[in-house]
């Protein structure tokens, strides 16, 4: 038990609950509910992944529109600044523990939109990423491989993006404010209150 990394990343009310941590991790790994934030072209890759041929429900993955119930945040393509605002708010609305999986080369370094004025170049400057799948677009096999990777990471406790977000919140907040200007949360998120 003591050999496992990041064993203390959830604080329990009762210390005895720590005993069940392997069980919790196994359960989290086997019931990833996704918030499918279908930006860009990866949204088109989701239906083959969800339907009979690659059927991701056999891994316990279920599409789920509500961020409050989601565990896995799929970012499926390029991200514009306008979308990034929604992504940040949605990510902060999700419950801990939460994991981020991003598809394609656009969120990694801009991809084919490397010189576009309206595409965010490095997504991991703004929110923490657990697994990134390279490719333009990745095939469903590659996405399944990424999902297996994140399941492995959940099991051994290295999928700690949500923890990094808490620890380095000032860094991420600084980058976000540089891109959007100070006070963007108050200005923009106020308009979405009806949907939150």
């Amino acid at each position: 038990m003591s050999e496992r990394k990041n064993d203390d990343f959830i604080s329990y009310e009762l210390q005895e609950f720590k005993l069940f941590e392997p069980l919790f991790r196994w359960a989290r790994k086997k019931s990833l509910w996704i918030v499918a934030f279908c930006t860009g072209c990866g949204g088109i890759e989701m239906p083959p992944l969800a339907t009979a041929r690659y059927d991701f429900e056999r891994f316990g993955i279920m599409p789920n529109p509500a961020p409050r119930m989601g565990d896995l945040f799929l970012i499926t393509g390029y991200v514009t600044p306008k979308t990034l605002k929604r992504i940040i708010i949605t990510y902060e609305m999700m419950q801990d523990p939460k994991y981020v999986l991003m598809h394609g080369s656009c969120p990694i370094n801009g991809g084919v939109y490397w010189d576009s004025y309206n595409v965010v170049k490095q997504l991991d400057k703004y929110i923490p990423i657990d697994v990134a799948i390279a490719g333009c677009m990745p095939r469903p096999e590659a996405v399944m491989d990424g999902i297996m990777e994140i399941m492995r990471k959940i099991e051994d406790g290295t999928a700690d993006g949500w923890k990094r977000y808490k620890e380095n919140y000032e860094y991420y907040r600084k980058n976000q404010d540089e891109l959007f200007g100070e006070g963007w949360r108050e200005k923009d998120a106020r308009r979405w209150l009806a949907w939150i």
């Binding site: 801009g110 576009s116 891109l179």
Partner: protein, 194 residues
């Protein structure tokens, strides 16, 4: 017989350049263009191919022409803009669709790039509002009479720059916004790729 045939062939070769561009047979497109040009002699009109016609109109009479054309062309499909940097002109293309005749028309007009202004066509086709807002945001053309011009799709800082203009410094803008660490070099870090 052989001697007689040869000059005939030469005569035919000489005749070919004299023949003008082949006129389309009596099609609905030709009739439509002729009918509109009869009412609007200031415009130039041509048939590109089946179901596709083209008009070139001076900018000061575009409103008049579109009102005339709207009798035949019920729908406005799009307003697209081309930026001709060397000529210093914007080319506006009003794309019209005739439901009754099934003909797609391009109405082209050119305006100077500096302080580009156009009259709005919202009173003819109300849908023009959205297309004019888009053209205003990306190219900075002011459509006089459109009440909703202003920031539309982009972030406010991009609205001021008009990013689809050809003289918009894309790389410089991207580097100031997103940082310079996305540059594409090859593995030896000497040659700039792309």
């Amino acid at each position: 017989m052989d001697m007689n045939e040869k000059p005939k062939v030469e005569e035919k070769v000489q005749e070919v350049p004299e023949v003008e561009a082949p006129k389309l047979p009596d099609t609905k497109e030709e009739k439509l263009v002729a009918e509109i040009l009869k009412k609007a002699p200031y415009a130039e009109g041509s048939v590109r191919r089946e179901r596709r016609v083209e008009f070139k109109v001076p900018a000061d009479r575009i409103k008049e022409f579109l009102e005339l054309a709207s009798e035949k062309f019920e729908m406005l499909i799009q307003i697209s803009v081309v930026d001709w940097l060397k000529e210093g002109e914007f080319e506006l293309v009003y794309q019209l669709w005739s439901v009754s005749e099934s003909v797609h028309a391009f109405v082209k007009t050119r305006i100077p790039r500096e302080n580009a202004k156009m009259p709005t066509v919202m009173d003819i086709w109300p849908v023009a509002e959205t297309y004019e807002r888009e053209a205003h945001e990306f190219f900075g053309i002011v459509f006089e009479g459109n009440p909703r011009l202003g920031p539309f799709i982009l972030e406010p800082r991009e609205y001021e720059k008009h990013p689809l203009r050809k003289d918009f410094n894309m790389i410089g803008y991207v580097k100031t916004i997103y940082g310079e660490d996305f540059d594409r070099y090859d593995e030896s870090k000497t040659n700039y790729v792309i």
